[in-house]
Symmetry: C2
Subunit: 178 residues, 2 copies
DNA sequence: GGATATTACTTCGCTGGCGAACTATTCGCC
DNA sequence: GGCGAATAGTTCGCCAGCGAAGTAATATCC
């Protein structure tokens, strides 16, 4: 249809024959695989950006989710863990690291002393911003392989699918990372 | 434009104001985030499928990549590690586990005794098939939130972007998981 | 043809994350 | 108002994966 083949075209072509006894449609497979590969690509470029600002993956991930919540820069450990899709135990570890680096601050809640409040520090917010900025560049570049109209179409089609996942009452529609 | 808002709509709306001093376009962000969320959803449903067949994530991942290569069911450890995007050290660990479970078989190459050949066993192929089948169901369901024409459009738009990532000469276009 | 480099894989020490058990606090209810 | 259940977070033991060093075989070059 357009110029060349991408990895997925070759993948699907190679496998059309093998999928005889497995429920399989190439167009579904092609879409799922391309989504996976794009995500992976974004992940790789994000990692490059993180190296530049001196941030590890899990550190950025945590700061990012802390910032994009409805109460930016402020959260409880368990709420943040749920957003991130990690266990509470893992959360404790991440917070130890971040607190140690001076990017967040733990403080005990006065009213309910079981609760701990996580707050981003000035330097935490600053380094997150720097990472965001770098990360955005490659994403911009790739997504702008499409023109304005195509981007709008793509966004709408993707949304139709995300709505399907989010409406789905099953447990799999639980919180998911951005 | 369509019925409701998805998570991403709310996310972008919430953040439009905060991104003043960061290079940011909502349409790019919306696309990137939706891709991430769809990938995450597929990952979750795959995991559910894996629980049903009694396979761990890394086991399926390895068997899958072993099967979808140009030489299905046959590979060298390092080639497979490259496909999977993991280190050779990690590969050794995975192969130990898979060999132990009887799903793959290691054998020394006669010509070059540094080389090891990995081959999938009958039971390895069988369990992979079962997992594939289950995994495919949810993916089908979600992707079929779109009609035939929409799927074709989506596939083409995604391909335009994957081509951009794969053409990109930078190191980030290295092999990526499917 | 023998020293040196390269290649293919494995072993080692360490780290992030998980589930389960634990601690401390608050809620609910009679 | 006091006892059992629920809730919030941390500690503990374990596992998968990483980078670096190690081992063994082959390639290269004088």
């Amino acid at each position: 249809m357009t110029e060349g083949e991408d990895w997925t075209d070759r993948h699907v072509a190679r496998w059309r024959d093998h999928w005889i006894d497995v429920a399989f449609e190439d167009d579904v497979e092609a879409i799922v695989v391309r989504i996976g590969r794009l995500k992976q690509y974004f992940k790789l470029t994000t990692q490059q950006a993180l190296v530049e600002v001196g941030l590890q993956d899990f550190e950025y991930d945590t700061l990012h989710h802390l910032m994009i919540r409805d109460t930016p820069g402020l959260a409880s450990p368990s709420a943040l863990a749920a957003d991130l899709g990690i266990s509470n135990a893992g959360m404790t570890g991440r917070l130890d690291a971040l607190e140690n680096a001076g990017w967040i601050q733990r403080s005990a809640d006065a009213d309910d002393r079981r609760r701990v409040s996580i707050e981003i520090t000035r330097s935490g917010a600053a380094i997150w911003r720097r990472a965001m900025d770098l990360r955005g560049r490659t994403e911009h570049e790739i997504v702008h392989a499409l023109d304005d109209e195509e981007r709008a179409t793509l966004a709408a089609l993707l949304k139709k699918m995300t709505l399907a996942t989010e409406t789905d009452s099953s447990s799999a529609s639980r919180d998911v990372s951005g």
